[in-house]
Subunit: 208 residues, 2 copies
């Protein structure tokens, strides 16, 4: 039975690859990249060191794959798609915060934003990861700029002002998440979304 089970695993390389990415993304998110050893990934994935190394010869290659196939999709799902699909910029931002705060309330703990966590740990010290992380921020920023241009106030702003507004929205969210993580409480995110909503109204960067 054991042999058959192992054979099944071996015959599903795509499944193993996905399990490794899930496990590594989870460990990087909760403990950090450097605090996670390849041996822990092996043991949490219930595989062998050889099988892991077949897919990811180095920890760096696993890090790059987690950023591309887990972190980037998480930012798209959490922020970019809801902003694109929302009726208005403001309702989109509110929805994003509501979902994130809801997740924290359900979990009872704040693990932080997977993009921020890795960017804070790796963007200065590891040029290898910097470009990959930066391109996710660029995509996030671009999605916000498009929605800002859609609003009556945003349409009147020049390109640089729209870019600044998008940066400020991302910065407020990221920093509120920092505070939420540091204090293990969703309260800073509630403050940020309320203040951001007021700010967007004052800027008239809201749907008419």
């Amino acid at each position: 039975m054991k042999k058959h089970w192992m054979r099944t695993r071996r015959n599903d390389p795509e499944g193993l690859r996905n399990r490794v990415l899930d496990v590594a993304a989870d460990l990087f998110q909760s403990r950090g990249y450097h605090a996670t050893g390849m041996r822990e990934v092996v043991s949490a994935t219930d595989t062998s060191s050889g099988a892991l190394h077949h897919h990811f010869p180095t920890k760096e290659s696993l890090g790059v794959a987690v950023i591309a196939h887990r972190v980037a999709p998480a930012v798209r799902e959490t922020w970019i798609e809801p902003i694109r699909r929302a009726e208005s910029l403001q309702s989109g931002i509110r929805k994003v915060f509501r979902n994130v705060i809801g997740g924290i309330d359900r979990r009872g703990a704040v693990r932080g934003c997977p993009l921020n966590n890795l960017a804070m740990e790796l963007a200065y010290s590891d040029p290898l990861f910097r470009d990959a992380l930066q391109s996710i921020f660029t995509e996030w920023q671009a999605a916000l700029e498009v929605r800002i241009a859609d609003t009556p106030g945003g349409g009147r702003l020049g390109r640089a002002r729209r870019a600044a507004a998008a940066t400020f929205i991302i910065a407020s969210y990221s920093g509120a998440m920092n505070l939420a993580k540091a204090t293990q409480s969703a309260a800073p995110l509630r403050v940020a979304v309320r203040t951001l909503s007021e700010w967007l109204r004052e800027q008239q960067v809201v749907a008419g």
Copy 2:
């Protein structure tokens, strides 16, 4: 000569302790807590493993001491004292950002905020460090609340609104620093200080 030099070192335990804290704070800041080994601290401090362990028996004890004796003073020097001493809240915030941006321009790289870096890496996974990091945020927040209450607009706000404004200022700064670190550019900090200044004016949370 060597012997005399070593004896001098041994006879200056306070000096060694301070050198270890400087070196460890620098390594934690540039690479992260988990990415830094005690052996690197020993070699960068030019001491022995025994001498290091005499002062800091564990890496955790070194981490706690770095937070108390290097990170907290850095936040006081960078943020809390300039805000306390500034003519107005707004001029204080501008001065803080100007200094931080100047430091980045001189260095040509963004290592991030020492408090944020450690909080992002350790606040979720290490309860040991969480309280120490959180109390620095609390002190920072309190200093801002006091200055906000001093302003004409802030004096009219209730306590909860003043606390929210302080949280939003810290969040915008922290998040802008995240983006600055992720993109290795001071541009997000320039955007944040301009937008924050406008926001403070709109809130009338500025000195009259």
